[in-house]
């Protein structure tokens, strides 16, 4: 193996300091991998020139799949031939990102043999990212991955790899089983995940409670966020224990910060008017031993969040205020399919479902997918009097 290490004075600066260094990681791989050596070289060049050296991706993939691989070529292959082709492979992560050490080593074995040895653990959507390999390696990697029980994630205009918070595996606040649900949905829609046929990408993220540790309300076309209908569970003894701890000011820090102003504290007793609680989690976060979400648990389903491209950023908005999330998840799948059908047929090229809903109007969207409008879907009714009355429908 030819040693192609070149000096990287600028990047070397980033080996210093207390935070783990990506340059150290790149050098670790570069000890035994020429592609990683060239990657260091091209990045140093970018640091010198303040410009990137990657070309717009090309279409590459494995047989029978339309997504999961992102083609990547550099624009100075004469200088960096080992990374002339340097494609990304997205591998569907185990739900909740739990691993055994053996599983990790198996992934490493595959990737060291067939790629750069560099990864992202994990990419923004949740996938394991294998960063950089040649076209000829794609099929061998794919068959070894599936042999080891792993499959590709999504890319392009498909259902992107769904993701979930750790949920019931390690969180007492999970209001539904995020891991079971995300696994079931992922398995149900393997075709939609692997073969892009939508107007644009479609992301599903599942968070077990309103803390939303997977940022679903900001990053998913469909956000399924756990919540409860009955009363917050209160352990009175633990409330007392909390109150007697150091630097504790329940009136100021908990009651005073309740967004619904539905809590009271008289120095001894904590009261909660659950009918006015907006299930924000603040008091529960602050007193995890004393308070817990209620027992009648389910989720709120919201749709449409996205980053700015194209028409501006959106947060997801409420579609179903409360629903039980239980196997076999038929009601959720019916909803997903109704949305896909409508958007698939009427969405414009590169129009996310959030933008589609804004274009046709949430009211029309609901009508088409067969949902009744309810006041929970809006922060307030319209103020604009230009109403498209439809007297034929009544």
């Amino acid at each position: 193996m030819a040693d192609k290490k070149k000096p990287t004075p600028k990047l070397d600066e980033l080996e210093k300091g207390p935070w783990p260094s990506f340059v150290k990681e790149m050098k670790l791989s570069a000890e035994t991998n020429v592609a990683a050596q060239d990657l260091l070289g091209i990045l140093e060049r970018s640091y010198d020139e303040k410009i990137g050296h990657w070309k717009h991706g090309g279409i590459v993939g494995v047989k029978g799949y339309g997504g999961g691989i992102i083609g990547r070529y550099n624009d100075i292959p004469q200088d960096f031939p080992e990374i002339a082709e340097f494609h990304t492979i997205r591998v569907n992560q185990p739900p909740g990102w739990f691993y055994s050490s053996d599983a990790l080593r198996t992934l490493c074995d595959i990737w060291e043999k067939h790629g750069s040895g560099l990864t992202n653990m994990h990419g923004s959507t949740g996938d394991i990212i294998f960063l950089g390999t040649k076209t000829t390696e794609l099929e061998p990697i794919f068959s070894k991955l599936t042999e080891a029980g792993f499959d590709l994630g999504g890319s392009g205009s498909d259902m992107r790899t769904p993701s979930a918070c750790c949920g019931m595996a390690r969180c007492e606040w999970a209001c539904y089983d995020t891991l079971a649900a995300v696994y079931n949905i992922t398995m149900t829609y393997q075709d939609e995940l692997h073969r892009p046929a939508f107007p644009y990408k479609f992301k599903i993220k599942m968070a077990g409670c309103p803390n939303d540790c997977v940022a679903s309300i900001a990053r998913a076309d469909m956000s399924i966020i756990g919540t409860w209908r009955d009363s917050i569970q209160v352990d009175k003894d633990q409330v007392t224990a909390y109150a007697s701890g150091p630097n504790r000011d329940i009136a100021r820090d908990i009651v005073g910060k309740c967004p619904s102003k539905c809590m009271g504290w008289d120095g001894k007793n904590l009261t909660i008017d659950d009918s006015n609680c907006v299930r924000c989690m603040h008091c529960i976060n602050a007193m995890p031993k004393a308070l817990a979400p209620g027992k009648d648990r389910g989720a709120t389903i919201l749709v449409g969040s996205k980053a700015p491209i194209i028409e501006g950023a959106l947060l997801s908005s409420v579609l179903i205020p409360f629903i039980k999330i239980e196997p076999p998840y038929d009601d959720i799948k019916e909803l997903i399919q109704a949305m896909w059908e409508l958007w698939g047929e009427n969405g414009k090229n590169r129009e996310r479902i959030g933008e589609f809903i804004q274009r046709i109007g949430l009211g029309n969207f609901l009508e088409q997918i067969g949902l009744e409008p309810v006041p929970e879907m809006v922060s307030q009714p319209r103020t604009n009097p230009y109403v498209f009355y439809d007297i034929k429908k009544g």
Partner: protein, 365 residues
């Protein structure tokens, strides 16, 4: 080095969700009672059965070598029966049942350069994108800026000394693969110059109607150039969003002199207390200055410091700013307010102040 292809399975999906759960989790799945943060980076979960699970959270760079993954696997074997997980912010968590193993594990992680922390009212890992390491669209490098900022903010990772949680995110172009738009502090790389049209390549690589349609402001028009179908851009209408480049590779935006970074503040995704919010523009532009981007680091540090000093307990950046008002935020941070802070895209008017609710200060002197 093409290799033999063995069997070919498709559509098997990810591993089953129970496959890699440690026995203590299998046993207590859905039966956790409460948790507490024992110290920065160490979380204790207690199950109804009385079983205890300790999670030790360590910083990991998102760009990781398989050799480091092997190290993590080895540590998991040595200290916790071979089980670990990653968090949604690229940290690594070791899942222990033996309390006595916590201290030696932390010791070892520190020695290897993967410090423990990032829980509670702290700054945890910055979620970020590819940058110059791997993307064609990047206006800066993601990993380098993130490393530089975290080196500076590192004390807030190891301690829990902030009023509330502070989440930072980085994206290297407006595509925002990390969807950074709901972070306490978002660092967003931006292009500021017109797409450069490659006359030779465009007719071969791009479909004209698709390219024209890709522009959200209608700035692209078809135009015959040297007898070939091409396009032109109406300069005043371009907002450097890069949409055209996404569909047409022959319209590049990268520009060494004019690309750089912007800083946004006050977003959040959690529903705790205030509803989720977008981040808002604080600093429109800071030039790229690799390898350590000192101006960006200083700007972020300043915002963190002012927040740490002034916010009340539990208040996130955006909640604090809402309470004190934006004029005071700009005053306290010393950041200049410019015309770029005023929106002029689709829903611009919604951010204009339409009341007289203003906090005045008496005239000086």
């Amino acid at each position: 080095m093409a290799t033999e292809i063995t069997t070919r399975k498709t559509d098997i999906g990810p591993p089953h969700y129970q496959k890699y759960l440690p026995p203590v989790i299998q046993k207590n799945y859905g039966k956790w009672k409460f948790h507490e943060i024992l110290k920065p980076g160490v979380l204790l979960h207690v199950a109804e059965s009385g079983d205890k699970l300790y999670s030790v959270r360590a910083a990991a760079p998102r760009l990781t070598s398989t050799k480091t993954i092997r190290l993590f696997a080895e540590l998991a074997d040595q200290f916790c029966g071979g089980y670990l997980r990653y968090t949604s912010r690229n940290n690594i968590e070791f899942l222990l049942t033996d309390e006595k193993q916590i201290a030696p594990l932390i010791e070892r992680l520190k020695k290897e350069g993967y410090p423990v922390g990032g829980m509670g009212p702290s700054i945890t890992n910055i979620v970020h994108t590819q940058g110059w390491v791997h993307c064609h669209s990047a206006a800066s490098d993601a990993s380098g800026v993130v490393k530089s900022v975290m080196d500076e903010l590192f004390p807030h990772f190891e301690k829990m000394d902030l009023p509330g949680k502070l989440r930072i995110a980085f994206a290297c172009c407006l595509n925002m693969c990390g969807a950074v738009h709901c972070s306490d502090i978002a660092i967003l790389a931006v292009h500021r110059t017109l797409p450069k049209i490659n006359k030779e390549a465009l007719p071969k690589m791009c479909e004209i109607p698709t390219t024209v349609a890709s522009c959200p402001t209608g700035a692209i028009r078809p135009k015959m150039t040297d007898g070939k179908q091409s396009v032109e851009i109406i300069e005043e209408q371009c907002m450097y969003c890069g949409n055209c480049f996404t569909v047409c590779p022959a319209m590049t935006l990268a520009d060494a002199e004019n690309d750089g970074l912007s800083i946004w503040v006050g977003g959040k995704v959690s529903n705790a207390r205030h509803e989720p919010m977008f981040s808002k523009l604080a600093i429109p532009f800071i030039p790229n200055n690799p390898p350590r981007w000192p101006e960006v680091v200083a700007a972020v540090k300043n915002i963190v410091d002012v927040y740490a000093k002034n916010a009340s307990k539990y208040e996130r950046m955006g909640e604090w700013i809402e309470r004190i008002g934006w004029p005071r935020f700009f005053k306290l941070t010393g950041i200049e307010f410019t015309k770029y802070h005023i929106d002029d895209f689709r829903h611009a008017g919604e951010s204009y102040k339409r009341s007289t609710h203003l906090k005045h200060t008496p005239a000086e002197g």
